[in-house]
Amino acid sequence: MNCEKCQELIHDLIDGALSRSDELLLNTHLQECLDCENVRQDLSSILTYCQTHRGEYEAPANPQAMWLRIRNVVEAEHPAPQIARTRSFLNGFFGRSWELSFPQLAAFTAAVVLCVSLITVVGLRRWGTGPLETTRQFEASNVNDRVWQRQQVINYWNQRIELNKVRWSAEMRATFDRNLQVIDQAVSQSLNELNRNPHDEISEQMLNESLNDKLALLKEFSDL
């Protein structure tokens, strides 16, 4: 499990809404990753604080109006009616009690098996021998996208550094360049490893940490 997915699931973990297997996976990751564990602790403390201090806040002048405003903002951001319609259809479909005779059940099962087989055969013929390759390319491009996004932030700090660099001593400039080069090497090695093996968790961890280190180095030196 990577940090991104872990941090998405932490809310569910705190709410107790995770399946046992997901909970196990998440806990394993939390034991190994201090950053995610810190996020979990932060969220827990916020919740605990809210629970402990419930009712201690000052009520707004018109709670009903405020609630409506919040709802309007949320609905404006998400296409709520569509979701609601889909949910109501699905709820109706699955909420209904189905009573099938044995022949009906057998026919339904046979139909499902036939459909799945057909889809599999057609899929294999159409897309030939390359599903693994496609998945690998997709995952590699996913990683590159994430790196690209981080690179935008890094570029911003790089520009600030370039502006300030003229004020530094030659020794400080050499130190900075040397360290940046070491981190860049770490980033590029992790990327190469991930291109070879997109599922390599250690390379992903190292890539994240190297990018974080690079960002930290740039931010800290931009103050000089």
Binding site: Q31, E32, C33, L34, R167, W168, S169, M172, T175, F176, R178, N179, V182, I183, A186, Q189, S190, E193, E201, I202, S203, Q205, M206, E209, S210, D213, A216, L217, E220, F221, D223, L224
Partner: protein, 266 residues
């Protein structure tokens, strides 16, 4: 009238003897005088400034030091006071320590904003044994010794070694980009310890009965757990080790990209 002059001297001297030698002698006397004067004129001299201050302290002192460049040495002593000594390379540099309650804050970065390059400032701090320290520098070594505190943090943004000797703290963070990290101390139950270097060796020397949960990662595959290795450790092709030593009461994370990770038993 008889002309008297060296040109018409009865014992003619050489030009060099009469003119050049006195000039050379005068120069010889003048040189030290010029050097002394140049040192007295402000802006011409690069002599180091020295600073030494003492602050009263209770038992739970917290030191926060943010340096730009230079060595930081922190050691404990038996007095209930803090002694801060600094050697300041540049006359332009300002160091203005501030004490708020039990916290001593030194922020060289903030004190010298807009002053350009202020060179090295080397610090030596003597503090009560229970003090917590939060030390940062952009460049330079950090040495901390003989502390039994709540938390110790040593952060070198770029290059510099970090040496933490005889440390017993519930939270330790040591991080640099290029340079070695050495920790010699004890892991407290329930404590968290994080050591991270991009390019450098990390050596951890702890008692044989230490109990901790370890996550150690190094793509260079140079992880030596020594006496602390056991069959319970899970490893991913030698690049990462996760497992408990003893009952795993404290949490230890060690990461480097290239360099050796070594665990030694005291």
């Amino acid at each position: 009238m008889r002309e008297i002059g060296f040109w018409k001297s009865p014992t003619p001297m050489k030009l060099s003897y009469l003119i050049l030698r006195p000039l050379a002698r005068a120069g010889l006397y003048a040189l030290p005088a010029v050097m002394v004067i140049s040192c007295l004129v402000p802006g011409q001299c690069h002599a180091q400034q020295k600073m030494s201050k003492r602050y009263p302290a209770g038992k739970n002192v917290r030191i926060s030091l943010k340096n730009i460049s230079g060595t930081i040495v922190v050691e404990s002593w038996k007095k209930d006071e803090i002694r801060l000594s600094a050697t300041i390379e540049s006359p332009n540099a300002h160091v203005v320590p501030k004490q708020v309650d039990e916290n001593l804050v030194v922020d060289v970065m903030n004190d010298n904003r807009g002053r350009g390059d202020v060179g090295d400032v080397n610090f030596k701090l003597q503090v009560p044994v229970d003090s917590s320290v939060d030390l940062e520098t952009r460049r330079g070594n950090i040495y901390v010794s003989n502390l039994r505190s709540g938390s110790d943090r040593a952060h070198v943004s770029s290059e510099g070694d970090i040496e933490l000797s005889n440390i017993n703290a519930s939270q330790v963070v040591a991080q640099n980009t290029i340079g070695n990290i050495f920790f010699d101390g004890e892991f407290a139950g329930g404590g968290t310890y994080e050591f991270k270097s991009t390019k450098g060796d990390i050596t951890i020397r702890i008692p044989g009965n230490s109990a901790f949960r370890l996550v150690a990662a190094s793509p260079a595959k140079k992880i030596a757990l020594g006496d602390f290795w056991n069959n319970g450790f899970r490893t991913q092709d030698g690049r990462k080790y996760v497992g408990d030593v003893g009952d795993g009461r404290s949490s230890v994370s060690v990461t480097n990209f290239s360099g050796q990770i070594t665990f030694l038993r005291k």
